[in-house]
Structures are given as C-alpha cells and as structure tokens.
Assembly symmetry: C2
Homo-oligomer: 470 residues x 2
C-alpha cells in the first residue's frame, strides 16, 4: 500500500482528504499569506489514531503539520513552501470535552474543541475559562496551547500556558505522553508540559488538555478613556493597579485605530468623540457581587482626570455600552485590514517601557517612512503593543507594493523592542513568518538549547518542519 493508503487504513478513507479541492483550505492560511502543498489532510478521531498516523508518517518519511482552527497569524499550520513532503494533521475531529469538574475548577478538553465551546461548557458549570481573544469562536484548544495564546485577559490570568494543569501529547515517534492529571502541584521532574505549550507543533501533537477554571466574574465595569499619550496611560495603569482594583483588561490604542474602526466597522459607536491622541479601554472585575467596583472605578478615573492623566472618560452604563467598548476592540483588526495595506508587528516590552517603546518607534518610523501611518494598539498592561505601518490613504499600489516599500519596518520595530529588554514575538508565535527574526534577535545560547531539545525529541525533524527554529 502507498503511504497515504496506510493512513487511510487507520482513520478511514473519508477522513483522509486527498482531492485538491478538499485540501485547498488547509494549504493556505486564512489571510492568504502562506501557501504549502500537503500531500493529504488526515483527520483522526481519537488519540490512538493520531499516534498511529504519526507512526506511519514516520515510517514513510513524511512530515506532519498539525492544524487546529487555523486562525494563526504566522503560518504555523500550513506546510512550509519549500519543506519536505508533508501531511496536514487536523485535530478537528478530536472535539470532545471529556470532563468538567466544577468542584475541582477544571475541565479536560480535546485539542479540536473550539475555544468558545470550552468557555461555554465552563460557564454551564458555573465556572470561567479566563482567556479571551478575537478568534475564540474558531480557534481550537490545541492551537491555543501550541501558540500559548494571549489576548485581552492575560493581564490578570496569564497566557494560555498558565491555564494548563496537564496535557496529553502524541510524540514524534508515536508514543503517547499521557499526563492529563488535574493536580495543582506536581514537582516530579522536569515540567514537560511547558515544552509542548508554545512549541507550535514542532515537538509533538497536543491531543488533549486539563485546564484550570476560575470563579465567574459577577461584577465588571468597563471604561473608555481619552489620554494625552502612552506615558499618561502608564500612569493610569499604575493608578488602577495600585488602587488594588482587579484590572482584567487594559488596552491602549492610538486615535488612528479608532478612526479606522469608525470608518470600516459595522454598527460601532465610539463612546467619546475622537479628539484625543490616545485612548485606553479598560475593565475591572470581581468574582464577589459585593465588591464596590463602580465606586472604585469612579474614584480612580476622577483622580486621573484631575491629575491630567485622563482627558475624558466614559464608563459603560449598561451591558450594551460595555459590549460596545469590547466590540470596537475585537473588530479593530478586521477594520484595519479593510483600510490601506499594512505591515504588522507583535512585540512586548516591560510594562514600564511601553511609552519609550511607542515614542521611539513612532519617531523612527516617521523618519524613514514619512508617508506611512503608524497604528498602535495593544495589551498595554502586558507591555504587548501591536504596531502597524499603514500605507497612506489613497495608496495607489497593491499590498505587495506597500510591503516592498515598508521592507525593514518589522526589523526596525523588533530591534527597538529588543533593545528595551523586550520580545520580537509576544503572543502570535513564530511559525514561518518570524523565523528570520529568531535568527536575528533570539539569544544564540537559547537557540542552541532549543535545537538540542528539538534534536532529542524529534531527531528526524518530522514535526512541523520549517517552523519556529531558524
């Protein structure tokens, strides 16, 4: 039998996509930036099937590209264009929530579960899975963990990594690491789960995870605040943190971003007139209903207005107003895509360095691309600002022309972040798109260690070839 027939034997012919039309969606990322040529798409339905597919691919010398909801931004789930013959291994059929234990504040979900479905299952048990980002309605648990997803609530509950109690992983040779234990403390040797989380499928295939849940938020208060600049926003951030209010989101955005949202968004209403240079969207929350959140927020914002940190502020007066603030934030990336072409970055710096980062980058970008328009938006409470350089309005060329004109923008911004003790890859991952940045900016000792680990776990380089490591 051919290698593909051997795979079909494991998972059934209808779960091995071989027709070009069926494969096409898996051969390209959703933005159309990355294209590969998988030989087939395997859709196993159980962990045992994943393991057998991985074993047989190994025997046949095929590379394996794990794929989840394929909402990633770095091309990790698409075979590398010049890579070895590979299949895409889609986890979409491993979509069972195996267990929800409310008393234990945990659940066990398979890799192919859509994140929103897991959030829903937690909510039905009176619990909260505290991670939130735009793609959660499509992204899957395996991708969330393989990319160590961030989002707007990282500030309070950490990245996806911090929500994991245990993992089930199919290793590159087909063995299964069954470590789905739901314990909060386990100091028995090396923390293997942390190797697979964020490894983007290059060390194995996450097939299931035990996730930590928290009590639901019974009170939330959101505000939309006009500020004079990033330094004032940082002061406001510190004021709120020091007050002791539980800040669960603190987003900073330049006016340009909100103008794009206002222009291209559907049904978006700005809570304040767009007259200030910068804005903050923030949320404080409490799990206990008797916490006087509104008073906390009014007191902090009152003092911020008095001190000049804030120019104006709108506290959401209803759930609809609150939802609008976060809809603006979530819809922004799509709105920006409908504007002129842009080159994007995903950096993080220490929170205290955010103002210097933004100001330095703004000066450098203006000097080199005076016609460009810098959009800055991000999770300021994590130091994670996404800077983009948009083509001017009325840009006559296409996207490729702007990307060519702005060549070097990403490297410039990355270098500024790294010089401030930051990272060139905060929450989107490396995939294919940032391998060059890994080569340029990553600590060489760290790179050597990573290569050693990759060699120890996947000596033949079968897992997601051409990704992460330069």
């Amino acid at each position: 039998m051919s290698p593909l027939d051997l795979l079909a034997e494991v998972i059934g012919p209808k779960n091995l996509l071989r027709d070009a039309d069926d494969i096409a969606p898996y051969a390209m990322d959703w933005r159309g930036t990355w294209r590969g040529q998988p030989l087939a798409v395997a859709r196993p339905g159980t962990t045992a099937e994943v393991a057998e597919v991985v074993r047989r691919c190994g025997a046949a010398g095929l590379g394996i590209v794990p794929a989840g909801g394929r909402t990633g931004l770095c091309g990790a789930a698409v075979p590398a264009g010049n890579g070895p013959p590979s299949i895409v291994l889609s986890l979409e059929r491993l979509n069972r929530i195996r267990q929800v234990d409310a008393r234990d504040f945990s659940l066990v979900a398979e890799a192919g579960c859509v994140v929103q479905a897991v959030q829903q299952a937690a909510a039905e048990a009176g619990r909260l899975l505290p991670i939130q980002w735009g793609a959660q309605g499509t992204a899957q648990v395996g991708g969330m963990l393989s990319t160590n997803a961030g989002g707007i609530r990282t500030l309070r509950w950490g990245n996806a990594r911090e929500l994991v109690l245990g993992l089930e992983v199919v290793l590159p040779d087909g063995r299964v690491l069954d470590d789905l234990r739901r314990v909060r403390k386990d100091n028995s040797g090396y923390a293997l789960r942390h190797l697979f989380i964020g490894a983007e499928g290059t060390l194995g295939v996450i097939t299931a995870a035990a996730l930590r849940l928290v009590p639901p938020l019974r009170r939330v208060e959101s505000a939309f605040v006009a500020v004079p600049g990033p330094e004032a926003a940082l002061s406001l951030y510190n004021r709120l943190m020091e007050s002791g209010a539980e800040l669960v989101a603190f987003e900073l955005c330049a006016r340009l971003c909100l103008e794009m949202a206002a222009r291209h968004g559907v049904g978006l209403r700005m809570p304040l007139p767009l007259e200030a240079p910068w804005y903050v969207m923030l949320e404080i929350a409490a799990a206990h209903p008797s916490v006087p959140l509104r008073e906390m927020l009014e007191e902090a914002l009152g003092a911020a207005l008095e001190s000049g940190e804030a120019l104006d502020a709108a506290i959401a007066e209803s759930e609809a107003q609150r939802a609008m603030i976060w809809k603006i934030r979530e819809d922004y990336p799509d709105c920006a895509r409908r504007d002129t072409p842009a080159v994007n970055t995903d950096t993080a710096v220490p929170v205290s360095a955010v103002p210097e980062f933004v100001n330095t980058a703004e000066r450098a970008l203006k000097a080199r691309w005076p016609e460009g328009r810098m959009a800055a938006i991000g999770h300021a409470g994590d130091g994670n600002i996404h800077l983009s350089l948009h083509a001017p309005e009325g840009w006559p060329g296409d996207r490729a022309a702007w990307v060519e004109r702005a060549a070097g923008m990403e490297a410039l911004v990355n270098a500024i972040a790294v010089s401030l003790g930051g990272s060139f890859s905060a929450e989107h991952g490396i995939g294919q798109s940032k391998r060059h940045a890994m080569a340029t900016h990553k600590n060489p000792v760290a790179l050597e260690l990573m290569r050693g680990i990759k060699g120890a776990l996947d000596p033949e380089g079968r897992m997601n070839p051409g990704k992460v490591l330069p």
Copy 2:
C-alpha cells in the same frame, strides 16, 4: 595546579572551603537525613565566576551540587552518598537584588538572595512577592525556583514557577543563558525557563531571576474553623470559591496535628477548643481597601455553620489573632518533629479528590499499622495534603526503628494518590529521597523524555548527579 587550586584561582582561596569543619554544614541536610562528601564548597560571587567554576569542574571531571539556603526536605543540595567526586556550589554570595521596578511590578534578584529579603524589597516598593512558606527566612531564590516551591499561597498565585518572568542560568558546559527579560509575553520558541525551574539543579545553575510582583494586600481576614471532616471542608472550600471571595489560603488539618502544636509549641494559643475531628485555617484577601471582606467571610461562614459544613468558627478579630492562626500553621512541622518519630509524604490529588484520598489512606494505614497515628495537614485548596504516620505515644524505640516498622507507608500513600490522578511529589521535589518513587510511579514515557532532555543539556551528567532521575 590541582582541580581545587584551579577553582580557588577563580573565586579566591577564602571562597573555596576545603577544611572538613568548613565543609561539614554543606555535607549534610538540616534534618541530618542525607550525608555526602563534597571535595570542597565553592562560593562564587558573580555569574561569571559561577560559569568559570562550572567549566573548570567539567574539565576536571567533577560533579557539581548547587546549594542555596539548604532548607529542602529531599536531599537535593547534598552530594549523593555514592555519587561521583563532587563539589558543592553555594550561591550564597550571589545575593544582590539587581533591580526593583515598581511601575513594572517586577524585580530582579540573584539566586543567593534570601526569600524574605526579596519579599522585604518588594514591600519597600509597595509591592508584594506573593509566596509564603515556613522556610522563607532561610531559603534562597535559587532554591525556591529550582524546587518550584509551593506554600500556603499557591492557591491564589500558583507555585514559584508562576512568578518567574525571566532567568539567568549557567549551563552544564559553562555557557550563560541570559534571559532575564521582564516581559509578560514572549512566544519565541520553547519555554526554556520552565525546564530549569523545578529541575533541582540537574540541568544548570539558576544564578538570577526576574520575578513578577503584585499589588499589596490591603485587607485580609483569617478564620479558624472546626469541621466534621474532609468532605465538609471541601464543601466549605467550594462555598468560599463560589462566593467569589478571594481565597489566598485554605489549610486543612486533623485534630492530632493541632494537639501536637498545642503540646510542643511555644506560645501557641488555639482559637477554638480542640473538640472537632478536623480544622480549616483560611484567609481571604483584597488588594483594594473598600472590598467588604469581613461581611463576605461572615456570610459564608454563617451559611457553612447553618448547613453543618462547619461546627464552629473563630474569625480573627485582630492582627495578633490572625498572626496566631498562621503561627500555628507555620510552627506545626517543628512541633511534629518534637513528637514521636514519623514517616512523611508529600502528595497532591485533584482538589475534589481530597476527601477520598484522606479517607482511603486513613483506612489503609489503620489496617496495616493500627498502632500508628496519622497526622494530616496541608494545602487542601491545592489538593496537597501531607500525611504522616507517627509512632504511638511512648514509642520505646528510636526513629530508625519506627521507619523500619513503617516501611512501605510512603509507597502506600503515594500509590493511593497516583490512583486518584494525583502526584507522589507535590511541592518538596524529588532530590534523593523520592528517586525510588520516580522509578515506581512516574509515567515511563515522561521519564524517557526527561532522560532525553538531561542527555541533551548535560551529556556528561555533571549537574547534581544522582538526583531527580531514577
């Protein structure tokens, strides 16, 4: 020059202890359980010196046993009795706090800083390092991270691992991994820091860490609650968690433990008469002063008393009363040591399995050692209960005789924990004492992976030989 002279050349003769009397404290753990024979004790003063010592030890074929405050319970910081010729590498002179950044909620501390000094530095900056355990006045940062220390606040802020933003590590070949960045988000390849945290010095020497701080707690309320049993305690735990109160400690202990504390402790006053079979010590906290903590606690305890989950409850009415509750908890281990000899365990199970774990273990221990007395105390909110089997009162033999009589107790308790999806090593680590448990209970695939990683990072097995891996 001899290998030791070569080391003295790097750090200065007075920082290389070679006299038997000087070495003696490093040759034995504080409980006197583990003894080794280091050739010398090296006390480098800088990261560069650590690196050079490690390089020269490698060239001379010497093993390296990193040591911090040496408060560990598993013999990790003492050379293995039958191990290769080794030196102890004490980090005690790397004790500078390199940076405190209040705006960033972070600090950078060297490995030899005493944990309490770091807590103090954070407090002086108006911040909290949220980890707390009995040995914090002696334990050092390097040991805290190398053992991934737990303690009574893990419930809210996680283990030591969760507090780390970046690490500086001297690798087994003397290279330095300089990754002290204070970023909250960094998805650029494998999470190397998590390999070194909890590795007990077998993969490298942690020389400094960037740690995450949090806002200080402005309100705390503690209570001492009599409960009918572990099942009721779990219900009380869930009642508090579901109420949304921020639980920062939830300790469960059997009456026997409190009786030992009352008998052997100095200046301990029990908040309630010791008439119930089990007790809970709990604390809720808030960073914001306007959170009505007292009302939250009274409401929850009132309902617990009404439902029968709680038999009696004493809320601390003053800081002195609060301190007393936690002094009882912290002094307990010493009090227990002054009682009859005991064999101890360090297991964790899913929180919801704590009652079944305790009940099953109690039955099994009673059946096999009817004369033994089971002491149970631990971090029930993490599922981490420390069960000990004490010799009967008036035990005529010595410690060794009881250890011999109770042989198999640890294995029995470990097996029960593992059968409930738990861990045989929750927060103390493996060191020398639990290597046999690693061989018996650890997932064999996990063990093979760990050996592969150890081989990739430390192919000659220089780092802390004879520890962690069986």
